[in-house]
């Protein structure tokens, strides 16, 4: 039943986007169709993103820029608020259940948020054709990352580095599957900080959040257990995206008629997605997300090259 529901939802999603794309080239479409279509599309993106375990804005920016008539500047500004709102609504629960650690979030956030400001300025300064080419390459790369990266639930780590020991980073959480508390710490923190500066720039530049990059770095490089990596990444976005979101807001690159339906649609959709998560098949959903990313990435690439 869930399989049918999902097939129905994905075909509905495709047909909605095609209808929207056709309407984009059709003058005379009533103005209210756009925010309504955006609300509906982002609701579906929210469901798919929650089921696939990805952040909504990584799907939002390429899909909305492919099918809606809005300028890329405003879509990126909205993407940051989408990521920010999702993070703010998810982080409290994760922090309260110790699945996110403030002692890990704080040092990474300083680096990532400062560099996201640089990214935001780059995004607002570079020509849009270049940005679309870069976004196309990035989204295609993220799809590849989803195909090939193998996260580890409990990574093997060595002795924590001096900085991680000095900052006393580590914690414990209750693991229901084993009925035990899992104690964890991290290593290779300096290398992680360097990578987070790059992640911050990309997040600010394209408005796509950064969970897709945060989680592998936290899990595979720093050695945080997967649940801690996901929770910490989600809490981290609330800070990283705040700095970049302010740059876009101050430059006037946030249009409420685009941003607010998007935020509401994704938030409601992701809540629905979480509710049906237990009965869905994550693997097939993940494949659909990968296909959507590949499609949106290639479309953005072609648009940047002037062929789309």
């Amino acid at each position: 039943m869930i399989g049918n529901f999902f097939m129905y939802a994905s075909s509905l999603f495709t047909s909605t986007n095609l209808a929207v794309a056709q309407a984009a080239g059709t003058p005379g479409v009533p103005w209210w169709v756009w925010p309504l279509a955006l609300l509906f599309s982002t609701f579906l993106i929210g469901i798919v993103a929650a089921l696939a375990g990805v952040g909504g804005s990584v799907l939002y920016v390429p899909i909305v820029s492919s099918f809606f008539p809005f300028n890329f500047d405003f879509i990126r500004g909205s993407g940051l608020f989408v990521a920010l709102a999702c993070s703010l609504s998810a982080a409290p629960k994760l922090l309260k259940s110790n699945l996110a650690s403030l002692r890990l979030v704080i040092p990474l956030a300083v680096i990532a948020s400062a560099s996201s400001i640089v990214g935001a300025f780059l995004g607002l300064s570079l020509p849009q054709s270049i940005l679309k080419i870069l976004l196309g390459l990035l989204i295609t790369g993220i799809a590849m990352l989803f195909i090939f990266s193998k996260n580890s639930e409990f990574p093997k780590i060595g002795r924590p580095d001096a900085l991680a020991r000095y900052l006393n980073i580590g914690g414990a959480y209750f693991e229901p599957s084993s009925g035990k508390d899992v104690r964890w710490t991290v290593w290779r923190l300096p290398a992680g900080l360097v990578l987070f500066s790059g992640i911050g720039i990309i997040a600010g530049m394209f408005g796509i959040g950064a969970g897709w990059a945060n989680v592998p770095v936290l899990n595979l490089l720093l050695g945080a257990p997967l649940k801690i990596a996901v929770g910490t990444s989600m809490s981290l976005l609330a800070i990283t995206d705040t700095s970049a979101a302010w740059i876009y807001l101050n430059q006037g690159a946030v249009l409420p008629i685009i941003t607010i339906p998007s935020v509401i649609g994704i938030m409601v959709g992701s809540r629905v997605g979480v509710k049906i998560l237990n009965t869905a098949k994550p693997k097939s959903i993940r494949y659909i997300v990968i296909l959507m990313l590949l499609f949106a990435g290639l479309k953005s690439l072609l648009a940047g090259l002037g062929w789309g």
């Binding site: 309260k96 980073i169 035990k180 807001l249």
Partner: protein
């Protein structure tokens, strides 16, 4: 090398023995920070929804009516700014009697939530004399405030 499993191996145990303050319980400052995020983000979202409905209903004399937005939303931010005389930085605060700029109140509030949480963390870390974390939290507040202040501009 050791795995971070429910039953820590000897290596990990020795690695962790360097850390004396690891608790299974959520720290009070983390709990407080989570509560601030929870209540403030919902407050921001509720304000955002209400102001958006006001805008869509055509109340409070918007400067750019929703029905006129298709003329502008395809423009770049610089073109939009010139075409609608849209303010840069915090000048929009002077226009919040108009529904379209009133919408920015809820969005801006979402951008303040993390700073509120961080201010509570700063007080806690200073009280606990945890100076490395107090410094990083203070630095983060400065970064966000600078980003929000509008002191950074993009040359057109």
């Amino acid at each position: 090398m050791s795995s971070q499993t429910p039953i820590p191996s000897n290596n990990l145990r020795s690695a962790m023995s360097d850390q004396t303050n690891i608790d299974v319980e959520v720290s009070p400052e983390q709990n407080k920070y989570a509560n601030i995020l929870l209540f403030c983000s919902w407050a921001g979202i509720i304000v955002m929804v209400i102001t958006f409905l006001i805008y869509m209903a055509g109340f409070l004399d918007p400067i750019v009516k929703p029905s006129d937005m298709p003329l502008y939303w395809g423009m770049s931010v610089h073109q939009y700014s010139q075409a609608t005389n849209a303010p840069i930085g915090w000048d929009w605060l002077g226009l919040i009697t108009h529904a379209d700029y009133l919408n920015l109140v809820g969005l801006a509030f979402l951008g303040v939530v993390s700073v509120l949480g961080y201010l509570s963390l700063l007080v806690t870390y200073l009280r606990k004399k945890d100076f490395p974390y107090a410094t990083m939290v203070g630095l983060e507040i400065i970064i966000i405030v600078l980003a929000a202040s509008g002191v950074f501009h993009i040359a057109e």
